[in-house]
Amino acid sequence: MTNTQTIQFPASTLEKVHEIIKRYPEGKQKSALLPVLHLAQAEWKWCSSEVMDYVASLLSIKPVEVYEVASFYTMFHLEPVGDHVIEYCRTGPCCLMGGVEVYDHLKAKLGIETGETTADGKFTVKEVECLAACGWGPVFQIREKYYMNLTTQKVDEIIEELSK
């Protein structure tokens, strides 16, 4: 568990935060909230309340303004997650292309259900809604990377590669 003292962006990320704040008019730095939460999640994997408090202090806003936003948007993890968060699309078009079977295979292979993390802390599986890649379904995403036209065999290869 992180504690408040250790929560501090590295200098290069802090510089990025200040560059982002400059994109908006004076006094509108709250607009940087979503971009900065993404930076925070990239740094600490998930948004603990300590992380959110830190983000609030960086943007001179109240902690509750961060909590209400982080809990509204599905991309922000409010619980600890594994090293690789696999977010698979469960919406119609991906299901038409055999998504359900592929995702069941994924969960069986990892031995976890949606929302769970493997015992070794490597993988978390989450189901998400449409990822705007419907013609290339079934699809899942791990961080910024899209994995498309998935088959059970491709899933095996991806998991093996990431397990190394």
């Binding site: 919406t91 292309m97 809604e129 890649a133 013609g135 290339w136």
Partner: protein
């Protein structure tokens, strides 16, 4: 006829040099050096270009609503929050040819008198945001963005803003809330964003594809654009095709070709996958009414249905649908309509922002009832209950998400009521692995 994707497969088109060699940024030269902002707006009006995000509202008219009080900044915000199930055209365009959007942003921002503009892109498309940011830097280095662009005296800063995963932020006022660092709760209108938008300043929000089309309009004139297409459906449209066709993907087509050609011709989708038959199509993204094969191909007057705003909506919701965002989801006879409707119902339940009771509660109930029908626990009264809930959501919410949630459920029952009844009356059969309803005598039945 291709306007947006003519050079999309050219090697290196994502770099500014290759993009310029293929005619890129000519519209910026022309607009900033030879045209006034009002002249650009006039060409867009003449083009008849309609908002490509789904609403289909005339873009030039939307621009003309922008308030221009002295000393108050105005903003252009590009809606790249593409999240409507079935739609991935903006993703494709931005990922392959980022400068196509950036050129359109410069021309459009100039027309509106905006000196700072934002591209709000859904957070999941982080990798596309990186592609756009790289392209923006290239444009800056060439003097196409920043201060005094090409010596014209016009300044423009362009920024990419990441969303956080919320379909609702595709609704323009929710998008603006999100861009202000808040939850994506849609605003009451009026005031409209054209008067009070981003930070209470006059703002125009336009879809990626609409903005991208303005460069061609500047280069060739609004009248030329209006010659493409049919009637009030002018120009070309990007169609995202998913589901059971031979060639899913993104196609740019002149509005007005027949649906039948689009589905079956080798130039487009190439027909239904081998050995299967067309059962149904969702033509414009998950929120528009699903149509069975016979109604998507022909109107009730026996005319060929066309890929146009007017033809797709011919017959109203009783027998027609909408062009919407152009998310074209094709289903063959192996598709269980109840399951597909459940995935859409679950989607809207998940994505309702929770602000209006009819949507927050109604989407939850529709999800729950669809879930029990799909899982063999449906009750006789459930079908009418779904229709009733859909009716009570429709028109009773601040933003169109309520309608978008109600329509697909109502339409699925309208055209496939027997399939819902089969699930309720024969739960063992319906829940067996791979079981699908076959309607006696239907063109799609085996």
């Amino acid at each position: 006829m291709k306007i947006l994707t003519e050079h999309i497969d050219v090697q290196g088109i994502e770099t500014i040099d290759v993009f310029r060699k293929n005619g890129g940024y000519a519209a910026v030269e022309k607009a900033l050096k030879k045209m006034t902002p009002d002249e650009v707006t006039e060409e867009v009006k003449k083009s008849g270009l309609r908002g490509r995000g789904g609403a289909g509202f005339p873009m030039g008219m939307k621009w003309s609503f922008l308030a221009k009080p002295e000393g108050v900044p105005r903003y252009l915000v590009c809606n790249a929050d593409e999240s409507e199930p079935g739609t991935f055209k903006d993703h494709y365009l931005m990922m392959k040819s980022p400068h196509t959007l950036i050129e359109g942003m410069i021309v459009s921002s100039y027309a509106l008198g905006a000196n700072t503009s934002y591209i709000y892109i859904r957070g999941e498309l982080m990798y596309v945001a990186t592609i756009l940011e790289k392209a923006i830097q290239e444009a800056k280095d060439k003097g196409l963005l920043g201060k005094n662009i090409l010596g014209s005296g016009y300044d423009l800063e362009l920024h990419v803003q990441l969303g956080g995963g919320a379909y609702i932020c595709g609704e323009e006022t929710a998008l603006l809330e999100s861009l202000e660092g808040k939850r994506g709760n849609p605003r009451n209108k009026p005031p409209f964003p054209a008067v009070k938008g981003l930070w209470q300043c006059p703002t125009v929000v336009n879809n990626v594809e609409s903005i991208a089309a303005t460069s061609w309009i500047v280069n060739n004139g609004g009248d030329e654009y209006a010659k493409i297409g049919i009637g009030r459906s002018t120009g070309t449209k990007l169609i995202s095709v998913s589901g059971h066709v031979r060639k899913p993907g993104v196609y740019e087509l002149p509005l007005g070709i027949t649906v039948e050609d689009f589905i079956y011709a080798d130039e487009w989708c190439g027909g239904i996958r081998d050995g299967h038959k067309l059962k149904a199509v969702v033509a414009g993204g998950s929120s528009v009414p699903i149509l069975p094969a016979e109604l998507i191909l022909k109107t009730t007057n026996g005319e060929n249905r066309l890929m146009s705003y007017e033809s797709l909506s011919d017959g109203g919701f009783a027998t027609g649908t909408m062009l919407g965002s152009g998310g074209f989801v094709v289903m063959d006879e192996t598709t269980c309509i109840v399951h597909n409707t459940l995935t859409f119902g679950r989607f809207y339940h998940h994505e309702s922002c929770g602000q209006c009771s009819p949507c927050r509660e109604g989407t939850g109930w529709m999800d729950k009832v669809l879930h029990r029908i799909e899982h063999g626990k449906g009750r006789q009264e459930d079908i009418d209950l779904l229709v009733d809930v859909a009716k009570k959501i429709e028109g009773n919410t601040i933003c169109p998400l309520g309608d978008a949630a109600a329509w697909p459920v109502a339409a699925a029952i309208r055209h496939f009521r027997d399939e819902f009844e089969w699930h309720i009356n024969h739960p063992e059969k319906a829940t067996a692995k791979g079981a699908v309803f076959m309607r006696e005598g239907a063109s799609w039945s085996l």
